[in-house]
Symmetry: C2
Subunit: 322 residues, 2 copies
């Protein structure tokens, strides 16, 4: 029988590189970081809520760190370290080996070091707290949008929601397409290089986890501004091309689990945004404008207004939806 300490030493202890003191003491110790701000975010993933029971543990290891890295990306912060708290129904060696493999693959890809954590018996729940660095004044805050800014999104939207629709039998698509969509749902790519490249170029940013409309809404609320989105400009990629236009609109506007960045930048920075995107090898698309007048307006490619209600959208809320 694997003890708590065996479990930690076998699957979650690796030599510290960044930390002064890593896994195994009352606290981890991070070195002083002259002149830098620390960016901190925490996310809790619960079985049956954020992932299916019996989810592939390697992909789960990837996703639970990727969603935290996505928060650093949305701030423009450099990943440094994370803690992992894990509640497990049992200490299953196969599950732990696969989970830690998925987790450390993403951690290593981003130079983000596991510095401590906690393990306990209980319903499968994963809580990661992540630490990044950013020079003061350069963070891409939600409250920093300005009237007249362009609204941009990275990558493509809606594929994760499309995969979910297939799992829920709302939709049937061919297997190769579902494979591609499922990869977006289970192993999202945190947009760290783009977030870093946008420092000093973008004004506000957020990562799209609950759907574009809801998350853009947080930028508008915190910046006390409004916005206009060109629904037909939203990048949906090849995967969503097969969908009826109405469903495609719903999935790109309010799909959730995209983990792309939505950001705003002055129109004078359009060339700089495109250069930053190129340096980060990440596509970006201009999809709208920040307005002085409150509220979010949707328009189509011809500039005609679309009624938000008519789309029957709802941004995800843990305590209201289902």
């Amino acid at each position: 029988m694997l003890s708590e300490f065996d479990l930690i030493s076998r699957y979650f202890s690796r030599p510290s590189c960044y930390a002064t003191l890593g896994v195994g003491d009352d606290c981890a110790l991070l070195p002083p970081c002259p002149g830098m701000q620390m960016a901190i975010s925490t996310d809790m993933l619960v079985e049956g809520r954020h992932f299916f029971p019996y989810a592939d543990p390697e992909k789960l290891g990837h996703k639970c760190l990727a969603v935290n890295l996505s928060d650093l990306a949305a701030m423009g912060a450099t990943p440094r370290a994370f803690t992992l708290a894990l509640s497990l129904p049992e200490a299953n060696p196969n599950w732990l080996a696969a989970f830690s493999e998925g987790l450390f693959a993403v951690a290593d890809a981003h130079g983000c070091e596991l510095i401590g954590g906690d393990t306990t018996k209980g319903p499968l729940t994963i809580c990661i707290t992540i630490f990044g660095e950013i020079p003061p004044g350069l963070a891409l805050r939600r409250d920093a949008a300005q009237a007249g800014d362009d609204i941009w999104v990275s990558g493509t939207l809606g594929a994760a929601r499309m995969a979910l629709a297939v799992y829920r039998h709302e939709l049937s698509i061919d297997v190769a397409m579902q494979h591609a969509a499922a990869a977006r749902l289970h192993t999202p790519t945190p947009r760290i290089p783009l977030g870093l490249a946008l420092r000093g170029i973008a004004h506000a940013a957020i990562d799209i986890s609950d759907g574009l409309i809801g998350d853009l809404g947080h930028i508008l609320d915190r910046s006390k501004l409004g916005g206009t989105l060109n629904v037909d400009a939203l990048p949906h990629g090849d995967i969503l091309a097969v969908l009826p236009p109405e469903m495609r609109r719903r999935f790109t506007l309010a799909g959730g689990d995209d983990y792309e960045l939505c950001f705003t930048a002055p129109t004078t920075n359009r060339a700089a945004v495109l250069a930053a995107a190129q340096s980060a090898a990440t596509a970006v698309t201009r999809v709208g404008t920040i307005d002085a007048s409150p509220g979010l307006r949707l328009i189509d490619a011809n500039g005609a207004m679309i009624n938000l209600q008519s789309l029957a959208l709802s941004s995800f809320d843990h305590f209201i939806s289902s």
Copy 2:
């Protein structure tokens, strides 16, 4: 119906004092802290495992932050900030009001600010990650004990275990006594002032959460040393005086949930330790010695060896016990 965002703004949003940016963005931002190391710890508390179902939410708010503060105390770190990830079966306003009241009372008492978090629907689970500061080189690490050091403990041991014994019907004691014991279990006092006062005086420290023997064992393991404990010197306080000696020994040696500090210091620092304890208004007791030869030896007041096996002790392990 309370939404996730209502819930956060109503119960968990307060003006930031220390943080450059607090609750409500992708990340919190902490200011640069010239020359200081950051001490970080995380603990996850699961209903039915770390606390009873239907636990008093105000006390639970106290305890879940106190156990994290206790990790900072054991490092000698100054509390600064924490994040809170909360999985809740439902958004119950009465529960949330009481929980946040208990949480913030402890936070305010220690100048520790809530800077961010996550809420989700799911089995009741609380994960706090805490941040403190400490000048480089002054942390009270588990691996820093030296042969010849005295072993000390703060406060008294065993009362939390005694309360648990009553809940489990292993024991029956009078109501006033059970009240006093239960307070130790539900609302532990993190030994922050003592941890700070011991900087530069103590060598190694740990907080006693899984029982003295197990936790002292971590100091011995990490320091590659052994130790001798005088079992009759262990401070048990008035509450445990009513217990049969054998049970008292078990509860003080391996009770768990004490959240006192166990620390080592050179014999030349005895007066300094007592002065530090006095300045922190926290009792300390000298209970043993760190030895060069590995293993932990127990002796009684007369210096006679006690067989560890004879006490039928077991340190708490989440994946082995129960």
